[in-house]
């Protein structure tokens, strides 16, 4: 009788809060997906001629690409700059980046008019003078790089040793290629907004927009690795031993130090951009105050908190700061693509996403979380494979 009780108690329930909420979002997302592809964009979105790009570009693309920068940042830090002590962070970062970029492409398919023509810019009509062509090309190539960097994980799971060893040998060239491609497309996403000097508010518009986007992507990548690592260590703690938990603390401290320096530099670059525009008087307007909220509350404050947390080895403070920084990057992308965009239009003509657009964005994120959980609970991401060890 006690054995039967033990067997009953050990069977996990599928109706966990995460599963229930994720299930609802997925069902709603599938419903809106059918609507979008049968009735068109107009039936599902609030996009119009003034706002051809809305939440799906502002959040799913701009924020998705920035927050997936942890892959190239961690890879460069470990394999190119030689910080091997953060080696354990590479696989989760690569997985997050791979899923992030995959979902960026999925979200893009919702936004473009004819998604089956996504390969056309590469094989039918390359628009080589277009910044967006360069973004598309680099994202496509980087997605292939990320997939190749990710392959050792499923190959170890499938125990395909020879192929896995070959893919591991490609790590350094793939990392170099990843850094080059990421530098190009992260900055080019900012360069897209160079086209709209009269639509983007002068405090956010700058000829340094590509530099801002690139540097903020480094900040976003470092912070997302801390954020994702903290969540993984909380929810998948059963996979990790004492050494992994100690490495996790060292990772948070090391990445926080780097993020503090990067944010310090980013704030300086933003100040130089402000000076170059000579729009100091606009700081006292409502948009100016909002700009100061972004600058002081989501760049300077995280910089200081990261520095303070690193100095005092205050892990909870660093985890909070990582979340604050991630929110700040999202806010920056929202400001440029939605809030400070078309700032001169009256309120009645401004854009706000429909509930269906928000549903699809939540749907895309939920798919990412489900895929992340599926892979992490089955494959050697957080812990080395017993047969292969930590040899990558």
């Amino acid at each position: 009788m006690s054995q039967a009780v033990v067997q009953t108690e050990s069977k996990p329930s599928l109706l966990t809060p995460f599963n229930v909420i994720a299930g609802i979002i997925v069902l709603a997302g599938l419903f809106v997906t059918v609507l979008r592809f049968t009735k068109g964009l107009g039936a599902v979105t609030n996009l119009n001629n003034n706002y051809p790009w809305g939440l799906w570009i502002g959040f799913d693309l701009l924020c998705g690409v920035a927050l997936a920068a942890g892959g190239y940042v961690t890879g460069a830090g470990v394999y190119l700059f030689g910080n091997r002590k953060y080696h354990a962070a590479v696989r989760p970062a690569i997985l997050t980046a791979f899923l992030g970029y995959s979902l960026v492409v999925l979200a893009l398919c919702y936004d473009v008019g004819r998604p089956w023509r996504l390969p056309y810019p590469f094989v039918v009509q390359p628009g080589t003078s277009s910044v967006l062509f360069e973004v598309g090309l680099c994202v496509m190539l980087y997605l292939i790089v990320l997939f190749l960097e990710f392959t050792p994980i499923p190959l170890e799971w499938l125990k395909l040793r020879r192929l896995r060893d070959f893919m591991v040998k490609l790590t350094i060239p793939l990392t170099i290629l990843g850094v080059i491609l990421s530098t190009m497309h992260q900055s080019s996403l900012g360069a897209l907004y160079l086209l709209v000097p009269y639509k983007l508010h002068p405090l956010w518009y700058s000829s340094y927009l590509p530099v801002f986007f690139f540097v903020s992507s480094i900040v976003a990548g470092l912070s997302m690795v801390i954020f994702e690592s903290s969540l993984s260590h909380k929810h998948f703690a059963y996979q990790l031993d004492e050494r992994a938990h100690q490495e996790h603390e060292d990772l948070i401290l090391g990445f926080s130090k780097a993020a503090a320096v990067a944010l310090f530099g980013y704030f300086g670059i933003k100040l130089v951009g402000l000076a170059a525009g000579n729009n100091w008087s606009l700081l006292l307007t409502p948009y100016g105050l909002w700009f100061l909220v972004e600058m002081l509350g989501f760049i300077l404050l995280p910089c200081f908190l990261y520095a303070l947390g690193y100095r005092d080895r205050n892990i909870p403070l660093l985890k909070f700061t990582a979340g604050l920084t991630v929110f700040g990057i999202v806010l920056n992308r929202f400001n440029i693509s939605l809030i400070a965009f078309n700032w001169q239009l009256p309120l009645s003509q401004r854009y706000f996403p429909s509930w269906m657009e928000i549903t699809i964005s939540a749907f895309v994120v939920t798919i990412g979380l489900i895929a992340f959980r599926f892979i992490v609970t089955r494959m050697p991401v957080l812990r080395p494979h017993p047969e292969f060890g930590d040899s990558h």
Partner: protein, 44 residues
């Protein structure tokens, strides 16, 4: 310089470049202090 009216492109560029360089120099001076604040309690 900051509060005088700017009439020509040259005046605009001179003003903005001057402020940008001042910010850059201020940053170069501030960075070592920031670095010392950041690494003050690091174990040698």
């Amino acid at each position: 310089m900051l509060f005088q009216a700017i009439h020509t492109l040259q005046e605009f560029v001179t003003t903005t470049k001057a402020v940008s360089y001042l910010i850059a120099v201020a940053y170069l001076i501030a960075f070592p202090f920031f670095w010392r604040f950041l690494t003050a309690r690091e174990k040698k």
